[in-house]
C-alpha cells in the first residue's frame, strides 16, 4: 500500500505561541508555523495502513521553503518520504489552485492507493482543499472517517464515518481503491493484534532515526517540474476574493474584580448572596 498524506503548515494557535498585533491581526513573523493539528489524524490513518499492510507513506505539502520544519514534524509520525511543492508562482493560492497543485504532485509521485487529508486547517478552516484535490484526481472520497480497514484481497476500503454534523450517527461505507480519505478528529487507529503493535514499535524506532536526517528524504518540486500552467496556480489561479478581514474581537483588558478574603465573613456572605440566584441556573 502506498499512501500520500497531505499536510499544511499553520500558525501555532496554542496559547503562549500565537501573537496578534494591536488591531487583532495575526503576526505571522512572531508566530511559529506548525503542522496543522488535524493532519496528525490523517498521518495516523496512513500509519495504520502501513502497519497492517506494509508499504510506504509519503507526506506532501505546498508552501514556502520554511515549511520544511512542518514536514520534519510529519516525518515524526512515521512518514517515509516528504514532498514539498514550493515555488513563488504557487504563493497566495486559494483552496482551488492549491488543489490543482497538490493533485499534480500526487500524480507525479505515481499511483498511490490512498490519499489522506485532515479535516480543516486551523487557519483557513474551509475544509475544501482535500475534497477539491480529490475532484482533480477524479477519485472516490470518504470524509469524516473515524476508523478504517483495508480489504487487500478485494482492493477495498471499509470505513466508519460520522454522518456530518451528528456525532452519534455513524455509517459504514466501502470504496474501491484508490480512494481519498478525509479523517475526522475523532479518528482512532485500532491495533488489536500483537504483531501490529510490534510492527508499530519497530516503525517508531526506524522513524526516530529518519527524523534526524529528514532532509535526505525530502524532494522539492517547482511549478515547472510539476508542469503546471501558471494561470491555474498561485494568486493568478485563485478565483477567491477576500473582501475584508475582521480582527478578532479583544477581550476587555481589565475586568472589575473585588477581592474577598476567605476569612472575611461579611464579604463572603455578600458573595454568597450574589451567587445564589446564579446557582439556580437563571
Amino acid at each position: 500500500m502506498h499512501s500520500v498524506v497531505l499536510t499544511k503548515g499553520v500558525p501555532d494557535f496554542r496559547e503562549g505561541q500565537v501573537s496578534f498585533d494591536e488591531d487583532g491581526h495575526l503576526e505571522r513573523g512572531r508566530t511559529p508555523t506548525v503542522m496543522n493539528p488535524n493532519d496528525a489524524y490523517a498521518l495516523q490513518a496512513a500509519l495504520q495502513t502501513k502497519v497492517k499492510h506494509g508499504g510506504t507513506v509519503s507526506v506532501m505539502s505546498m508552501g514556502p521553503p520554511g515549511y520544511e520544519s512542518v514536514l520534519e514534524e510529519a516525518m515524526g509520525i512515521y512518514a517515509d518520504d516528504l514532498y514539498l511543492l514550493s515555488d513563488r508562482e504557487m504563493a497566495a493560492a486559494d483552496t482551488w489552485s492549491t488543489a490543482i497543485t497538490l493533485s499534480a504532485g500526487i500524480e507525479k509521485i505515481g499511483q498511490p492507493d490512498l490519499v489522506f487529508a485532515g479535516f480543516k486547517t486551523a487557519d483557513g478552516e474551509t475544509g475544501q482543499t482535500g475534497p477539491q484535490t480529490c475532484w482533480c484526481l477524479d477519485w472516490p472520497i470518504v470524509t469524516h472517517v473515524i476508523s478504517m480497514e483495508i480489504d487487500e484481497e478485494n482492493d477495498r476500503l471499509r470505513a466508519k464515518r460520522l454522518v456530518e454534523g451528528d456525532a452519534d450517527e455513524i455509517e459504514t461505507v466501502e470504496s474501491p481503491l484508490p480512494t481519498f480519505v478525509v479523517t475526522d478528529p475523532e479518528y482512532e487507529p485500532s491495533y488489536r493484534r500483537a504483531e501490529h503493535r510490534l510492527r508499530h514499535k519497530q516503525l517508531k524506532s526506524e522513524t526516530d532515526e529518519r527524523v534526524d536526517n529528514y532532509e535526505d528524504h525530502l524532494t522539492t518540486w517547482s511549478a515547472e517540474e510539476l508542469d503546471l500552467d501558471p494561470d491555474f496556480i498561485g494568486l493568478d489561479g485563485s478565483p477567491t476574493i477576500v473582501s475584508s478581514v475582521d480582527p478578532i474581537p479583544k477581550a476587555p483588558a481589565e475586568r472589575e474584580a473585588t477581592m474577598v478574603e476567605p476569612t472575611d465573613e461579611e464579604g463572603m456572605s455578600e458573595v454568597l448572596e450574589e451567587m445564589t440566584p446564579l446557582a439556580g441556573g437563571d
Partner: protein
Amino acid sequence: MTEHEHYEAVVVGAGPGGAAAAAALAQNGVETLVLERGVDAGAKNVSGGLLYAEESAPYTIDGLFSDFREEAAERPVTDYYLHNVAGRNVKSFDITDLHEHDTAWSDAVLRRKMDSWLAERVHEKTSETGGGLLTEVRVNGLLRENGEIVGVTCDELDPIRADVIVAADGVNSELARDAGLMDWEEPEEWFQGVKAVVDVPSDVIAERFDVSEGEGAAHLFSGDLFDDVRGGGFLYTNEDSLSIGTVFHLDSLVAEEAEPHELLDNLLTHPLLADWMEGHYDEVEYSAKLVPDSKKVAHPSPHEGRLLLVGDAAGQMQAQGPIIKGMNHAVSAGALAGEAFAEASMRGTPERAGELYERKLNDEGVMKKLRPAGYKVTSALGEHEAVTNVVDSVLTSGVGRRAVRLLGSQLESLYSSPYLSQIVPDTRTPYVTLPTVIAEELGERVEGTSDVEPKSLLDRIGDLTYDTDVGNPHIELQDNSVEASGAAVTACPVSAKDFGGGCYREETVKTNGSEEKLISLDTQPCVECGTCAIVADTEWEHPRGGKGVEFREG
C-alpha cells in the same frame, strides 16, 4: 472471525521474573511475546529493594543480561546493619556476614530504571525470535478451549494462543487466580511494604554513610518504633537517593488497626536517622506493595497446563529474618521456566514444561530456600499466641533480660546465622519483643533531633502520577459494611481514618432516624498494591494497560 494470533511463548509481565523467562526462552530460539501493562516496564513495580545474586543460584540477572549492574542497578550493599530500637535506645548489630552468606553481589535497585532497561534488552532478544515486548497491554485472563488453557485474553488485544504462558504478573497475579493456583484470602500469608524514595546528593550519601564510590549501605530497624506491629524498617542507599520503607505482616497491620504511612513516619522521624537525613529530606515518591510470604504461600507446584507461574505470582518471595530476597528468586524461576519449556519442546513434549519446571525448582534448591524445612518445625512449635505470650513474658522478665545481657555481643553472631534467620517464627517475639529488650539492656542512647517532616498522605498521593480510567474503576466494593471492608480504611496505604482524600473512607449514613457506618471507595488514588483485595470484600482487578498509577522510581 479471524484466526487467533499464535506465539510459541507468551510472557505476562516485564519485571525481573518475566525478563529472565523471556531471555531464557529467546536464547533457546523460542518465539516469545512479552506483554506488560505499564506505560513502561517498571511503571507498575515497587520493591524495597535489594537485588541479590546468590552464589548457589542457577541464574543471576547479570548472567542473563550483561552490563546489568553498570546500567540498571544502584549502589552495591557493602555494609549491612540491624538496629534494635527501644525509644531512644539503640543496639546495632553488624550483620554484613549474614548478608554476604551465599551472596555473589547485592545491589540496591529502583524498579522503574531497572525494569525499563531490562525491557529494552528483552525486546531486542525476543525480536530476534519473531516476538517482542509490548507495553500498555493488560492480560486479563486465560484463554481456554475445552477446559484447557491455550492462551491469554487481553483488554487491548484480541485473544492470543500460546504453547506456554509464563505468568510473571506480580503479587496480585490475575492469571494465577484465574487458574485457581493462588487465592487472596488470608492476611497472614502476606506482608505489606510501603516506601519513600528520598533524594539525597551522591556526595552527601558518601559522607554520611561512610561509603566510597561503588559502595553502599543497608540498615534494618526493629523494636518498639512500630506500635507493636510485626515487621520492621529498612534503609538502602541508591546512587543519589535513599529507599526508606517498612514491611509488616498484613494480619498484624489489620489487628492493630495501624496506618502504614504513620508507621513509615515513625521510622523517618526517629532520631537514629537524623544524622543521615539532616537538611536533606526531599521525598520524591511514596509507594506500596504486597509481598507474599513464601514460607506459607510459595506454590509447591506452580503450574497448570500450559501456564507456569514465576516470581511473586507464585509466592516466590523469601522474607526470612532480616534478609529479604525476592527478585533473585523470580530471576531463577523465570529462567528455569523458560529453560523447562525449551527442553520439553525439544523432546517433543511441550505439555510437560510445567512438570519439568517444578522439578528444576526443587533440583536447583530454589524451593528449599522459599520453604525452608526448619521453619515448618518452629512455626508448628512457636506460632501460637499462648507460646508467644510465654516467650515474651520470659524475655521481658528479669531472667530474660539477664540472659540478653549475658549473651551480649554473641547476639550479633546469632543474628548472623543463616540457619536461624530461616527458622525465625512469625510472631511478635523476633520483630518487637526481643529487639526491644536488646535495645533496653544493651543499647546506647541516641541524642540528636530529627528535622524530618514527612509529607502528608494528601501530598504523597498528590505527588504520584495517575492516568485514571475515568468511569471504569478497577476495584468494586462488594460489601460496604464495616465488618466486611472496614479494615481497608486503615490497612490501605493511601487511606486513613478521618482522611477524605484516599481510596477507602468511613461514612456515617442516616436512614430513618438511625445511623449506620458504611465504607466507601474511590479508586482514583489507588497504588494497586492489592491490600484491599485481601482485607476487604472487593472485586479486584488491574486497571487497563497504561492506566492507573505510574511509578517513576519504584
